[in-house]
């Protein structure tokens, strides 16, 4: 090994397989002390798996890992933590009912005996919090904290275990733009204190902002490690996908028609008595895309369901093509041309243990052309499914395969195909690219732009602000069940929108 550089983590020939899948293949990687090193790759490229293998969550099939020059073979996270690694997972691993302090100290042994010395822990935690300039109320219950704050708890948790080497797995996927910047501030601070940071992400902007070096992974293999200097986004995405791609969609100019969908003061109170939606009003014209941005869990799902008729609004009124549909069933709304692409494609979009063809006609099996006598016309269903699978490039071994066995991208293509082919003209599209790789995202964006070109009315609900901004004509932000005024996408800065996503006021430094 040429040891001019100070390598803190050295990975050689690491291979990790799951039944039927090679997650990582012969990975070689050197991480230098004190750097912020990004692992960049699409979903399923093997970046999280690689880190989880090292961290002792999965274990590896073959290969060697050295940390600080010593072999590291973590059988469980405990071993990794013991030598100074700390991983912050994409989904936080916190106990909601515990206080911040309890979350930070749980799992630790007492200095002596079994007595829990909260006072002693508190002063030590306060020391760390001060050193890294992280503002936290140690006595607040975690369930009362914003997502950004919860992430800080996770960071302090690993720092308290003397982590010198932090692995952040897609840390910004749940944050507002402001919270992301706050996180980057903490990362800078960690670097200054001599910590090494591995940052896992697929968001190119932030990768370019925060990294010293970037390693691109594709299909479980390391493609290249580059120094973050004079890099362009396009270079990185081409490395990620293996070909030139562009997500900068050119939206067609379309002559707008009359209102296709109008909401007037829609509100919803859930069975627990909590107001989930409050006076939501907007209208979308034919040929227009209205985007709703916002952090997950602010009423997006409920809004989509109220529009789709699976939840009944507590107040307000919905008009489709100018006529009120409040009391109409989902089926009736479908017959009036409404289509829904749900955020949770596994739960709401598909019946996992139905065949591909059965899922394709899930929204149309009852229509006359699929009926023969008292039963279904399976010939017609097969023909129709074959055509859609081909036209929408749904990769499936056979029409009889269970839908749950398709990849996320192919599942989404299936759902899109049946919604579009159903001759619909009002589309409620929620989280259309969640968990998809860039190739599939490109496809989805193209289809949405085609729908707009065909003069359809489109409501786009997404937690990906960039997606909303690049696809929509107008947009608004949903926060705790209330939507902001709608505005033209080019009229507001990202920072301004970020503030709306956080409830209009700056909740954190």
């Amino acid at each position: 090994m040429s040891n001019r550089k100070d390598v803190i983590l050295e990975i050689r020939n690491l291979t990790k397989t799951f039944p039927g899948v090679i997650a990582n293949k012969d990975v070689d990687l050197d991480i230098e002390r004190g750097e912020v090193h990004t692992l960049l790759g699409e979903n399923g490229a093997g970046k999280s798996t690689l880190m989880k293998a090292i961290y002792g969550i999965y274990g590896m099939d073959s290969g060697t890992v050295k940390y600080n020059g010593n072999p590291l073979d973590a059988k469980s996270p405990k071993d990794a933590i013991a030598v100074g690694l700390g991983m912050i997972h994409q989904h936080f691993l916190l106990v909601q009912e515990f206080t911040v302090l309890e979350n930070i100290i749980m799992g630790l042994k007492a200095d002596k005996g079994i007595h829990l010395d909260l006072g002693k822990h508190r002063s030590r935690v306060e020391e760390i919090v001060e050193r890294f300039e992280i503002r936290l109320d140690l006595d607040e219950k975690v369930k009362n904290l914003s997502v950004g704050m919860q992430q800080k708890v996770e960071i302090v948790k690993v720092l308290y275990r003397n982590a010198k080497f932090l692995i952040l797995d897609e840390p910004t996927s749940v944050l507002t733009p402001q919270e992301s910047q706050g996180l980057f501030g903490i990362i800078e601070r960690l670097k200054k204190e001599g910590a090494t940071v591995i940052f896992i992400s697929h968001k190119l902007d932030e990768v370019l902002q925060i990294s010293d070096r970037i390693t691109v992974l594709r299909d479980g293999e390391v493609i290249e490690t580059v120094v973050n200097k004079d890099l362009r986004k396009d270079d990185l995405s081409a490395m990620m996908v293996g070909r030139e791609v562009t997500l900068d969609v050119d939206m067609p100019e379309v002559e707008l028609g009359p209102d296709g969908l109008e909401l007037d003061k829609i509100s919803l109170v859930n069975p627990g008595g909590k107001t989930v939606l409050k006076d939501v009003s907007f209208s979308i014209r034919k040929g227009e895309i209205l985007g709703i941005a916002g952090i997950d869990g602010n009423g997006q799902e409920e809004l989509a369901q109220v529009l789709w008729g699976t939840l009944k609004a507590s107040g307000g009124s919905i008009k489709l093509h100018g006529s009120t549909v409040d009391d109409l069933s989902t089926r009736k709304r479908m017959d009036m041309g409404m289509a829904y692409i749900p955020a949770d494609r596994k739960k709401e979009g598909l019946v996992g243990t139905f065949q591909v063809s059965e899922n394709i006609v899930l929204n149309s099996y009852y229509k006359p052309h699929f009926i023969k006598g008292l039963g279904q016309d399976f010939g017609a269903i097969r023909e129709y499914s074959e055509r859609l699978v081909q036209e929408y490039n749904v990769k499936t071994p056979a029409l009889s395969v269970w839908a749950k066995n398709l990849s996320g991208g192919n599942q989404q293509k299936l759902i899109l195909s049946r919604a579009i082919e159903g001759n619909n003209d009002v589309f409620i599209i929620a989280q259309p690219t969640w968990g998809l790789d860039i190739g599939a995202i490109e496809f989805v964006y193209r289809k949405i732009s085609e729908l707009k070109e065909a003069g359809k009315t489109i409501l786009l609900i997404s937690t990906d602000l960039e997606e909303v901004r690049s696809l929509s004509d107008r947009m608004c932000v949903i926060f705790e069940g209330e939507v902001s005024e709608t505005f033209r996408v080019q009229d507001k800065q990202v920072a301004e929108i970020g503030l709306l996503m956080a409830g209009g006021k700056r909740r954190e430094e």
Binding site: P77, K78, I81, L93, V95
Partner: protein
């Protein structure tokens, strides 16, 4: 009049304790199990097993200590079976619990018939004696609280210990973390399976001891299905007590007092049908369950299956 009133109060207090102790043992055991995130539906069966094996151990050896140990062993063994099936083989917590209940209802009834079911020779020789605490036992009205047997005093210690365990120890905090979010606990190096196994085994031992108390200190005999729903009342007391040791203590005392009161009603001869009086604890159970819906304080991962990543 005054002395009669005092006597009634004395009886009431005494029998409240008698009725409370078995279900409090079981509820405390259930609480420990449930704090670790595992529902304990088997309390009824565990009590029954404890009641029988304590009785049998005592019958064969004449030793109360052996009786107690037999109950604990039955609880530990059953707890181990529960742990392995639920944690290793991912069996349903509900189905396993119910299975244990039905199993012991049949098994203890069958064994009891084998060893012969009638006559004084099948009675426990001596009930566990009382330990009188000097001076305190002479206090009017509540003196009766201080002339209890050792298993009652042990229970008081256990209640205090459990409360301290959950709130003041590192291992208690870890156990609670396992019940609230096992994945979070595992991520900081807490062994979820080990913690849950321990909780189930210790909890099951306590529940079985609760049954043992019935035969060793109260009934002197074993009767088929003698637990008669007390395990379920213990289960309810945990919910009613909002998953804290103190709450469970109060919950069990409420049931104990209600049962004692229904006795008094019959003794004193208040003119209501005795069946109505007997219903009181069960009515409280139902009301408590209805009222506690939605509230709770239950561990967040209670009843959920844990799959290692």
């Amino acid at each position: 009049m005054d002395s009669q009133f005092m006597i009634i109060i004395g009886i009431l207090l005494g029998s409240t304790i008698r009725y409370t102790v078995p279900i409090l043992y079981a509820a405390l055991g259930g609480l420990i199990t449930e704090k670790a995130g595992v529902l304990n539906f088997a309390l009824e069966g565990l009590m029954l097993a404890g009641a029988f094996f304590a009785y049998y151990g005592n019958l064969v050896t004449g030793s109360i200590l052996v009786g107690v140990l037999c109950a604990l062993a039955a609880g530990a063994l059953t707890g181990l079976i529960l742990s392995i099936s639920i944690l290793k083989y991912k069996a349903s917590q509900l189905v396993m619990g119910i299975g244990i209940n039905i199993f012991y209802l049949g098994l203890t009834g069958y064994f009891f018939r084998i060893i012969g079911s009638s006559g004084a020779e099948t009675m426990v020789d001596d009930l566990l004696g009382s330990i009188h605490i000097p001076l305190l036992e002479d206090i009017p009205l509540i003196g009766v609280l201080f002339e209890q047997n050792i298993l009652v005093y042990l229970l008081v210690v256990l209640v205090i210990f459990t409360a301290r365990f959950f709130n003041k120890t590192t291992i208690g905090l870890n156990l609670k973390a396992v019940g609230e979010n096992p994945y979070a606990a595992a991520a900081v190096g807490v062994d979820v399976i080990k913690n849950r196994t321990l909780a189930i085994v210790v909890g099951s031992m306590l529940a079985a001891l609760g049954g043992g108390v019935m035969t060793l200190t109260m009934a002197r005999v074993f009767l088929e299905n003698m637990v008669n729903g007390r395990g379920w009342i213990a289960f309810t007391a945990i919910i009613l007590g909002r998953y804290s040791s103190k709450g469970v203590l109060i919950g069990c005392l409420v049931f104990g007092a209600a049962t004692a009161l229904s006795d008094i009603v019959q003794i004193v001869g208040i003119d209501i049908p005795y069946q109505a009086a007997l219903m009181v604890p069960y009515i409280i159970t139902i009301v408590a369950l209805v009222l506690s819906v939605g509230g709770g304080n239950a561990p967040a991962a209670l009843g959920a299956r844990y799959d290692r990543e």
